[in-house]
Amino acid sequence: MAKTLADLRPVYVVGIGWHRYQEMSSTTYVTLGLQAVRQALADAGIAWEAVESSYVGTALLGMACGRPMLRHLGASGNSIVHIENASASGSTAFRHACIEVASGMSDVALAVGVDKPAKIERGERQAGIPQLAADAIVPFTHFALLTNGYMNAHGVAIEDIARVAVKNHGNGAKNPNAHRQRARTLDEVMSGRRVSGDLTTLQCCPVGEGAAAVVVASEDGIRRLGIDPSRAVRVTSSVARSERVYPPGTGFDAELTRETTAMALEQAGLKPSQLDIVELHDAFTVEELHYVEAMGICKPGQSVHLLKDGALDIGGQVAVNPSGGLIAMGHPIGPTGIGQIGEITMQIRGEAGERQHKGARTGLAHMVGVGAVCYVHTLQAD
């Protein structure tokens, strides 16, 4: 009988770090990555020598980018693995760092996500299956179609959906690591350049670069290295799923999230109502509403009401995307899922400053990636 993460030995997030997410610049990926890793090591209070294994999440940097970066911390000779899983690259790197520590094969592991914008072709294009109009349908159109369907199904106006961006830009404005740090009014969000359907640019995540790093450790590692256990946050579940064939009429986005989240909550022994913090894949505004419903935080069609009432704000019923989400924190790809873990950790530690959601003890990180794949992790105060 297969085990869950909770069945293995406990694994904790002990260090977090970032290089701010930002517009593409001449900063090298090595600079971006080293800053995030050094910050995470300093946060944990450990030296690089203590890290036994590294997982590098990157979708765009190209083959074997990890050691050319990590060797500058001191060439340790330890395992380096590159992980690509589209938007979920960072989340996947985090999962495997957790699995390695939880399994007992390492006491301390690093998950670092780093990326710079680059043109990349999906592998699927080489599958040799002609498509009707795939060339014309990029992600923002997929989500514009979802938005159109959602608006029609629930009798909701685009302004209601766009409020997700107002909330998330407002959160990003309080986050020094965010790509976009400017609060926006609903008018500003709505009057931006139209991208596809009803989606304007401020309702879509930006294209940028950045890095995020998380160090995970076992209880043995925490003890041996003198890490402050009061700042260690336990990872209570890790679930990874991929898209299946769903009944006709069932959109894969919601169903994949529903299934993955339900499994994670069950493994962690949590109900959706117990979540204090959710960091989810809001590359486009409609996704936040879609996934909040799929996760069971509220019924289908009801999330606009929660949003309007401030229930999804920092200080509301559940803080969704307190970092600013993909829309404002940003989505450099490799770093994104790892940055979510960092934000949740900060919140549970009570160290989120202006973005602090009071009393945060349980958090959920959600990421989806082209494929499609879905990754959900839960973190909880002991």
Partner: protein, 140 residues
């Protein structure tokens, strides 16, 4: 003389019609022994059950369906189609869902639930026009 089809693996003129602009079209799909119908057609294996080979048989879809969602694209990085153009998501026979381009500028009453059908439309290409598939609203 018939204009060549851009993607003949995916569609063909409806029976009794020539390959020319405006002709109704039907879609080439595959049906698995398990009952799952898939478009676009492929013979690698059924996504639902994994059967391949002779378990996957050709199935023709009428090209008619129900609009599920639409989006007019305003920004497009490639040369063609030229923005603005409208992408539609359509539910066809056997519950098959596909996405394609709308033939015309979207009518003001384009909303989920209306009936659409498939037609062939001329598209510029090197060496002369080709015919590609478009969805069009069925006029009442």
């Amino acid at each position: 003389m018939a204009t060549p089809l851009k993607k003949p693996q995916l569609y063909r003129p409806a029976e009794g019609h020539d390959a020319k602009a405006g002709s109704p079209a039907c879609l080439n799909a595959v049906k698995c022994a398990c009952g799952h119908v898939a478009f676009p057609p492929q013979h690698y294996g059924c996504e639902r059950c994994g059967r391949s080979g002779s378990d996957l048989q050709e199935e023709v879809l009428s090209g008619q369906g129900r609009l599920l969602a639409s989006s007019t694209v305003h920004m497009h990085a490639a040369a063609y189609p030229v923005a603005p153009f409208t992408v539609v998501e359509v539910e066809l026979d056997h519950g098959v869902v596909t996405r394609g381009l709308l033939a015309e500028n979207p009518p003001s009453d384009l909303k989920p639930g209306i009936r659409v059908h498939s037609i062939l439309q001329a598209e510029p290409a090197e060496g002369g026009d080709v015919l590609d598939l478009r969805f069009a609203v069925i006029a009442n």
